[in-house]
């Protein structure tokens, strides 16, 4: 591809095509040999790394557009690479590089061995996400969006022999299409009946505030269904655990971000102006999503389902930044809006990295020990030391602990929220700190949840034979996780550089940026507003802790001694310690269940005093099923029965229906 060397857009399209070719090669591989199959994923990982680099370099460069010689006659595919697309392509590449590398080991050694079909679906999924991110007309966007939904649907239902997984896939497909309809309608509103579906035409259009609001609400609903905003989150905890782990990582880490991308694209780019009321609505939904996600995550004992609920939570955190940015922009504070936007973008990137890492870690436990239920794990740090280390990095990052990356974006979100006194609107001004309070609570609960996960899964004594016999995963898996863990650390330690990279996105979307507003950051100190106002330096932070750890280690040994003796655990002198005496995942979260009991629907069965084999069970259910989805399902069933009455099974009657329909059309439609 000669054009690729000169234009990043050509390179990006080339990578998408390359992935498609890899997928087809996977299908054609005769006899499914393991080694070549592995190299397909490795090549895919290399292409992903190239995509990340291309995205990184394209962010600061002028935008670039192209018309592809594809599509329908008179309806070619328009593609464009601007700063926003480039940022999300970088995110996709960075996460996919680690995930594909991991997949090289995972799919080749998994149960059932290498599947060419999975290879095809996996790479089609990746390529369609690239097309979603570079699409510059509604037509290509919807085609790529649907391709993404279908490819991921087939990946989710890889193990379709299990009826539970088929059901999860169905719910996913349903929600994806309800969302897609809303997105389609949103584009319909935006293009104002001109017949031109390019994004350029939509940018020129000047809808009234009412129509703009309608478009925003449709976008919020449509993309929200994909992102998992409460109450549209129900597919997420079903579909993400059902998929094979690298696919879960892609779904949670990357695909949810395409929905965030769509929201940003429509709101900042395609809509002519921004109303602060949209921001308020987003903020309220975001806070609900955040708290709901973490409170339900705490109740889970299936590791992958728990991680899926945390994705719901993190989408909420991203949207808090987004909502703040809309409020500030809508009320005429563009510099503050930049801060909110950067916080949202930073968290988007961070979540992609650490959530992918955590899902890969969960997959490693699934492969290495055959476990996904926390109740049967324990002590895996001894059998799987590398996985444990990488998972710990991911857990600390998602818990927003400094100096890792999750903290930086939460810190930025807090800073954006604390600038609310700049607003003139009294109520708005006092609501925003409440948002900060909710975010603080969510962060602290996340830390509790991940202490639970890491403590129950990797520490302590093995709770089952499988956990005892667990073995470390192979080199490719470890390499993939190591890459993502390194990114977690780098994004946490060098936020100033990363924000410099992201600044052009803000400049493009809001016509303002941190550099533009005259605030320059020292390379060591992150000072988003002013040095007296707030500063954070993860490098110094990290350096001090490491220095003190090393100094304390050395000094204690130099001044005293380093003698050590291994003995049996003390446990207040209790001699007969066994694994069942440890806290379980349910036990660890029990106080939270008690405190927030009204939020959950708990079904528990207590044993009868005379039971020979007493069993105790307790299940926590999502109330949104009862509140929203079951009524809708019942109404749909009812309407279907009504419609079913005109269905009598005789051809003559159906012909009469057709005749009447034609008469009606002739009479009323010209």
């Amino acid at each position: 591809m000669p054009a690729a060397t000169s234009s990043p857009l050509g390179l990006v399209i080339g990578i998408a095509l390359f992935w498609l070719v890899l997928g087809i090669l996977g299908l054609l591989l005769p006899g499914r040999p393991q080694a070549p199959a592995r190299w397909l994923y490795c090549l895919g990982a290399a292409a992903a790394a190239a995509l990340a680099v291309a995205g990184l370099f394209a962010i600061g460069r002028p935008q670039e557009a192209m018309v592809l010689p594809l599509g329908l006659p008179d309806l070619p595919f328009h593609v464009r690479l601007d700063a926003l697309s480039a940022f999300f392509l970088m995110l996709l590449g960075a996460a996919a590089a680690g995930i594909s590398c991991y997949a090289a080991g995972y799919f080749a050694s998994g149960t059932g061995g290498f599947s060419g079909l999975t290879c095809l679906q996996y790479h089609v999924f990746l390529a369609s996400m690239v097309l979603v991110l570079v699409a510059d007309d509604a037509y290509l966007f919807m085609v790529a969006w649907e391709a993404m939904a279908l490819a991921s649907y087939f990946l989710v239902t890889t193990e379709h022999h299990d009826p539970g997984i088929r059901k999860a896939g169905f719910i996913y497909l349903l929600m994806a299409h309800v969302g897609a309809i809303a997105i389609l309608l949103c584009f319909g509103v935006l293009h104002e009946g001109h017949g031109d579906y390019t994004f350029d035409a939509m940018r020129q259009a000047q809808p009234t505030v009412g129509w703009a609001t309608a478009a925003f609400l449709l976008a919020l609903f449509g993309f929200g269904a994909k992102a998992g905003i409460v109450p549209l989150h129900v597919w997420l905890p079903q579909a993400h655990p059902a998929a094979p782990s690298p696919v879960s990582a892609l779904l949670s880490g990357v695909m949810l971000k395409t929905a965030i991308y769509g929201m940003f694209r429509v709101t900042y780019d395609l809509l002519p102006s921004i109303q602060w009321e949209w921001g308020l609505l987003t903020l309220v939904l975001a806070v609900l999503t955040t708290l709901f996600g973490v409170l339900f995550a705490l109740m889970q004992h299936d590791l992958k389902r728990l991680l899926a609920y945390h994705s719901v939570e993190n989408i909420g955190i991203i949207l808090i930044g987004f909502g703040l940015s809309l409020i500030y922009f809508g009320t005429g504070h563009p510099v503050l809006a930049v801060l909110g936007l950067l916080a949202a973008l930073y968290h988007t990137l961070n979540h992609a990295i650490f959530k992918a890492l955590l899902f890969l870690g969960a997959g490693a436990v699934l492969h290495g020990a055959g476990l996904r239920d926390l109740g049967r794990m324990g002590g895996l740090i001894r059998a799987m030391p590398y996985t444990a280390l990488f998972f710990l990095v991911g857990a600390l990052a998602i818990s927003a602990l400094p100096p890792l990356n999750g903290f930086v974006s939460e810190w930025l979100t807090f800073q954006a929220a604390l600038l609310s006194p700049a607003l003139e609107h009294g109520v708005l001004r006092s609501i925003i700190p409440l948002v900060a309070a909710a975010l603080a609570l969510a962060g602290a609960l996340t830390a509790m949840c991940f202490v639970k996960v890491f403590g129950v899964a990797f520490l302590g004594q093995a709770r089952s034979r499988e956990a005892e016999r667990g073995r470390e995963v192979g080199g490719w898996e470890r390499l993939g996780m190591a890459w993502l863990a390194t990114l977690c650390a780098l994004l946490g330690l060098a936020p100033v550089w990363m924000i410099g990279v992201m600044d052009p996105v803000a400049l493009e979307l809001l016509d303002y940026s941190l550099a533009y507003s005259g605030i320059s950051s020292h390379w060591l100190w992150l000072t988003p507003v002013a040095p007296e106002r707030a500063s954070y330096s993860p490098m110094i932070f990290f350096a001090v802790i490491v220095a003190v750890v090393l100094a304390a280690f050395g000094l204690v040994r130099a001044l005293y001694h380093g003698r050590l003796r291994r003995t049996a655990p003390w446990d207040c002198g209790f001699p007969e310690l066994n694994a069942r005496m440890q806290d379980t995942a349910e036990g660890f979260a029990q106080p939270i269940r008690q405190i927030f009991a009204p939020l959950y629907r708990i079904e528990s069965r207590h044993p009868d005093p005379f039971d020979r084999a007493p069993r105790y069970s307790s299940e926590v259910h999502d109330r949104f099923w009862d509140w929203i989805y079951m009524p809708i399902a019942r109404a749909t069933a009812f309407l279907s029965r009504l419609v079913g009455r005109i269905q009598v099974g005789r051809v003559a009657v159906y012909l009469v229906y057709s005749f009447l329909t034609i008469l009606f059309l002739l009479a009323f439609v010209r």
């Binding site: 324990g378 903290f407 202490v451 655990p569 003390w570 440890q582």
Partner: protein, 315 residues
């Protein structure tokens, strides 16, 4: 970085670490006097540390690297905090490395590591302690953040030194929001430092302990580091409270003459705070563990109320 700043920073780092066990000794002595007991020596905590450092470490057979690393990480976190909080002077070059939000983050890192370490051996008490510690932390941490948000709305900054400078400079103004924040802060201090009524630092009664359950498997130098870190934590919490709510007497940037005065003022205020803590611990009883969430949630809501009051009165 100015020379005076660097010296302030060094003096403070050494002083806080060195004086922290003394504050614990002082609180213990005050409590003994209030309870009509003969007080142990003020230097008793130092002797305990020395004894522990001399002993051989006994480590459970299945302890992993995390268990051995955790005491050092906790100690490092607390020392970092000791360098950030203005105790004697507000001219601290380190302080820019972490504002109040990051400060809460450091406490969270220490809490997560001590809880993980407690779960490492897989004993009944360890996991029980970890669960309680994380629960109390999960509710106390947001409360602490909201207290800091109260302060930062007044001073328009989340940097602790700027907050202290602003509050120290302003003429005596009554901020109603600060009163709520101060009460909430004291409640968080009690909860986070394992004091009565949330936890009893003197207990080894198995079913009620939190902090003691966490460190049950630790011995010798590891235990010494953890106990020392806890002492620094208590010292630093008191220092934060003093700096934020009673900032008078702290030395400004470049003001050499004020330093001796600042030392005297700090020592006096810390002594009063320690005595107050002893009084609080003597007059109240330890509450049931199930009541603790209510206690901490009250602190959270008080701080929130302060936040709202700020908007009502200052607008």
């Amino acid at each position: 970085m100015t020379a005076s700043g660097a010296i302030n920073q060094l003096v403070q780092l050494v002083l806080v670490a060195a004086a922290a066990p003394l504050l614990v000794g002082w609180v213990n002595a005050c409590r003994a006097w209030l309870q009509n007991r003969r007080a142990p020596s003020l230097l008793q905590p130092y002797r305990v540390l020395r004894k522990l450092l001399h002993k051989d470490a006994a480590l459970a057979e299945n302890a992993s690297w995390l268990f051995r690393l955790a005491p050092y990480v906790i100690f490092g976190c607390m020392w970092l905090v000791a360098g950030i909080v203005p105790v004697l002077a507000t001219d601290l070059p380190f302080a820019a490395a972490a504002d109040v939000i990051a400060l809460v983050g450091v406490f969270a890192v220490a809490r997560v590591f001590i809880s993980l370490a407690a779960m490492d051996i897989g004993t009944a008490f360890g996991t029980l302690g970890a669960r309680r510690e994380m629960l109390i932390g999960a509710l106390a941490e947001p409360a602490l953040l909201i207290v800091f948000f109260n302060l930062s709305l007044i001073s328009q900054s989340t940097s602790l030194t700027t907050i202290v400078e602003t509050l120290g400079h302003s003429e005596f103004a009554l901020y109603p929001s600060l009163a709520f924040a101060a009460v909430a802060f004291v409640m968080v201090l009690l909860a986070e430092n394992a004091r009565i009524p949330v936890d009893n630092p003197a207990t080894h009664l198995e079913l009620t302990m939190v902090h003691e359950a966490l460190v049950l498997e630790y011995s010798a130098r590891h235990l010494a580091l953890i106990e020392w870190a806890s002492a620094i934590k208590l010292f630093v919490y008191c220092a934060i409270g003093i700096a934020c709510f009673l900032p008078w007497g702290i030395a400004e940037a470049g003001d050499w003459g004020a330093l001796p005065l600042a030392v005297a003022a700090s020592a006096a205020k810390l002594a009063v705070a320690g005595a107050g803590l002893a009084v609080l611990e003597t007059v109240s009883a330890k509450m049931r563990i199930f009541r603790v969430p209510e206690f901490v949630a009250t602190a959270f809501l008080l701080a929130m109320l302060g936040l709202l009051l700020h908007y009502v009165f200052q607008v």
